[in-house]
Assembly symmetry: C2
Homo-oligomer: 244 residues x 2
């Protein structure tokens, strides 16, 4: 029985799992749970993940949610996953655990707070909350500074100075890719001070191509829609201004 | 060279690591980093953990921070740690990872938001923020409901239906013990609906005695001080009221 992966490609941890599975040649079935249609609240999906969140997996009789737990499970349960993704070496693995734990309460919290409350909320019927978005941006920038000055300082192209990517690289870069949906000016402004971060994002994309680009197509589609809306809104503003 | 464990016993993840080490007979040196004296901002401690947070460990040349990563490292690096703490079985371990990841963005976020912003902030020179505390309480109660109705439903006395505790039990119960410092009425009100949670907390205490009680003495000392302050403040209020 194939591994079932329940995802919405607009969700950054969903994309991380899809990319990881594809890069490692894992035979899986992708099941789309459309968050904008509130499919994560369906009774059927509640049987998969009672927390009503994507990503989640079903592997035979085994059910699991939380993206980091899923990445580790897949890295260990399927043959052929190269060791660098989740090293069996105790010290290397511990450091990756440390990055992943740090991610929860820093980069992820900041990025989600900023992107969701500043841009994405209306897509799932919620209101924008500029104050929460602003708080998110502060934590996001502090987290980017930590990646730039600490997690990327040990020589290699990837986190912790590794010469090859780990599940932490995929998880964190997919999080940062979510910035594509905000206004381009804002994204460029936020990332501008962080040269190493931008290089690392590019290196992670290259290391996981062509899957990285393919899995991110959905995000770029939404980016395009939001950009058009912004242009329409700006044009409307200019036109209504000229009529005054 | 002994394992060095940098902690403040007022920090709940610090206590989790101390209890875990003591229960498992690990030979370690406890180094107190007094958060109220801002010792976590010292240059010396920055060399141990650049994130300026406890807990952190130094094991020979190896440095590590983030409490879950530390618990897993110790469980794997030291001989004699019973398998139930962090099972080598792939499926059991994956479920524990899932609880630990869930903890970061649910119970921990809720409990810290509530306890720190509603009670502890002044001890480290910060202001109380009642609005953030109230938001924290909502997430804390929702997380308690999830523990009660989901994580504790599989039969055993511990999380995931286990008959013996894991690192997740220690981590989550230490988090909930932080509620001891809030007003007793509030703690009792918040925990009241959750019979299984209260039983599980008691079972975890029993399973890790006498270390659990010993390590929590510092917390109960602060609880006593805060209780006295509350009584003094209430008395002052009554007295000044009677003078009106």
């Amino acid at each position: 029985m194939k591994l079932k992966v329940y995802v919405d490609r607009m969700s950054q941890p969903s994309r991380a799992i899809l990319i990881f599975c594809k890069v490692n040649g894992i035979d899986f079935e992708e099941i789309n749970i459309d968050l904008t249609k509130l499919q994560h609240h369906s009774l059927e999906f509640k049987n998969v993940n009672p927390m009503k969140q994507v990503p989640a997996i079903v592997d035979g009789r085994f059910k699991l949610f939380e993206s980091h737990a899923i990445l580790k499970y897949i890295a260990c349960a399927f043959p052929g996953v190269a060791d660098h993704w989740y090293p069996s070496d105790l010290f290397k693995r511990a450091k990756i655990e440390s990055v992943l734990d740090w991610h929860h309460t820093n980069l992820r919290r900041g990025a989600v707070g900023y992107v969701f409350n500043g841009t994405l909320a209306p897509l799932v019927g919620r209101k924008l909350i500029p104050k929460v978005a602003a708080e998110g941006e502060i934590l996001l920038s502090a987290s980017l500074e930590t990646i730039e000055s600490f997690w990327l300082t040990d020589g290699g192209r990837f986190l912790l100075g590794s010469t090859q990517p780990s599940i932490a690289d995929i998880s964190l870069v997919c999080e940062l890719m979510q910035l594509e949906v905000v206004d381009d000016e804002d994204r460029i402004r936020i990332l501008k001070p962080f040269t190493k971060v931008k290089k690392w994002m590019e290196d992670t994309k290259i290391a996981t191509r062509p899957h990285f680009d393919e899995i991110h197509e959905a995000l770029f589609k939404v980016k395009g829609i939001l950009q058009k809306r912004r242009i329409s809104a700006a044009t409307l503003k200019i036109n209504s201004g000229s009529k005054l």
